[in-house]
């Protein structure tokens, strides 16, 4: 997986979107708005 081929803007936005999704999910879990996630 190389980010070197992609413009830096795209790399940053992928990181930001991934972090944003994770934080939103964490917040939903914290506020008990998601059912318990099973594995």
């Amino acid at each position: 997986m190389s980010n070197n081929d992609s413009p830096s803007g795209q790399t940053i936005s992928l990181d930001v979107y991934a972090v944003a999704l994770a934080l939103v999910l964490a917040l939903l879990v914290r506020l008990n708005l998601l059912p318990p996630i099973k594995w």
Binding site: M1, S2, N3, N4, D5, S8, I12, L14, D15, V16, Y17, A18, V19, L21, A22, L23, L25, A26, V29, R30, N32, L34, P36, I37, K38, W39
Partner: protein, 359 residues
């Protein structure tokens, strides 16, 4: 790595999203198949009282993906969706922060903490010397060093995008770490019993030397309940350091090469720095501060596992065996020699500390 270049899309966001669906479904199918195989084997061996090391879904998902990609191939319709695996990887790493409580470090005790620090430093140093001796690619050496000194698969997962390593390097490092972890399940209890190690000494050794959390826990529990608890604590302490080690490697690799050509190194480092590492540290800090209740931490850890399920299906589907074969036997030799060295080193440290400093 054989990578299919996805053409730059000039289509609408909705059509781009629709184009991702077949590949996403393939990731889910492959990942879920990996999870099912792991669980089926566990149920089968438990029902028949067969001692068999747990082979994690990670490896199965990679293997299934590899088989598909290197036999029938991945049709073009799936490729855009399969390429999203990097996104799931980063989201999964941020959520993984919930499993690494910085406060766990304090429960272990001073001498044990010192042993953890010494073991990690010597392991990283030795793996880099070994990698250089065997002339491995520097990033593969970094992955093997991080994997064998910190925390196995999780550390490799976290480090891979941070140091921008190839899929083949990560697949190889993960396979080597998991294979060697399985072997340790059989050998560690035998060595512990023959040396008459105390529960605490053995647990500390297992927690320091076995790389993957699941295997370290199992290796400890195979000795005794008390040893299992110490192994988990020592392993968690190593895990807690993952963010800092990955941060160090990310800075190192960011600063190499291109950094000399730029005027503002700080701005360059920030631009190249993987932002998801900060997300990981933030979630880890929140978990440490008690922001999440225990069941919520379990949910977050499980969410990260689901994200990795998609990730590793994608890694397998995008890995070329031909490219992997070009790396030859040397990476595995480095992993094996390194693991044996680390096992002996940590055994010596723990044995000495138990004898003279009374752990």
């Amino acid at each position: 790595m054989v990578t299919t270049i996805v053409p730059v899309c000039t289509e609408t966001p909705v059509r781009r999203f629709i184009a991702l669906i077949p590949g996403l479904l393939l990731l889910i199918a492959v990942g879920y198949a990996g999870k099912s195989i792991e669980q089926s084997i566990a149920v089968y061996t438990k029902a028949r009282h067969i001692t068999f090391p747990n082979i994690e879904y990670v490896l199965w998902a990679i293997v299934i993906g590899l088989v598909i990609a290197n036999t029938v191939g991945v049709p073009r319709i799936f490729q855009a969706g399969v390429a999203t695996y990097e996104f799931w990887l980063k989201a999964g790493i941020v959520l993984l922060g919930s499993r690494f409580l910085l406060g766990d470090v304090l429960h272990l005790g001073g001498i044990s903490l010192l042993l953890v620090a010494i073991a990690i430093t010597l392991s990283l140093t030795f793996m880099h010397i070994l990698g250089r001796t065997f002339r491995l690619k520097p990033k593969l050496t970094s992955l093997l060093a991080i994997g064998s000194s910190i925390c196995g698969v999780s550390a490799i997962i976290a480090a891979k995008p941070a140091i921008d390593a190839d899929d083949e390097d990560a697949s190889y490092a993960i396979a080597a770490i998991l294979a060697l972890g399985a072997i340790s399940l059989f050998t560690f209890p035998l060595v512990g019993h023959s040396l008459h190690l105390s529960d605490k000494a053995y647990g500390l050794w297992a927690g320091l030397a076995v790389d993957n959390t699941a295997e370290a826990t199992a290796a400890g529990a195979l000795y005794s309940d008390a040893a299992g608890k110490v192994a988990v604590l020592a392993k968690t302490t190593r895990n807690a350091l993952i963010g800092f080690i990955v941060l160090g490697y990310a800075l190192y690799w960011s600063a190499r090469g291109e950094a000399q050509a730029v005027k503002n190194k700080a701005a360059f480092l920030w631009r190249k720095f993987p932002k998801f590492v900060l997300g990981f540290l933030l979630i880890s800090l929140l978990a440490t501060l008690g922001f999440f209740a225990k069941p919520q931490l379990v949910s977050l850890a499980n969410l990260s596992r689901w994200a990795f399920l998609l990730t590793f299906a994608g890694v397998g589907l995008r890995t070329s065996l031909r490219e992997l074969g070009k790396q030859g036997w040397r990476p595995f030799a480095v992993g094996a020699i390194g693991e044996v060295f680390i096992a002996l080193l940590t055994l010596g440290l723990v044995y000495g500390a138990d004898r003279y400093l009374h752990l």
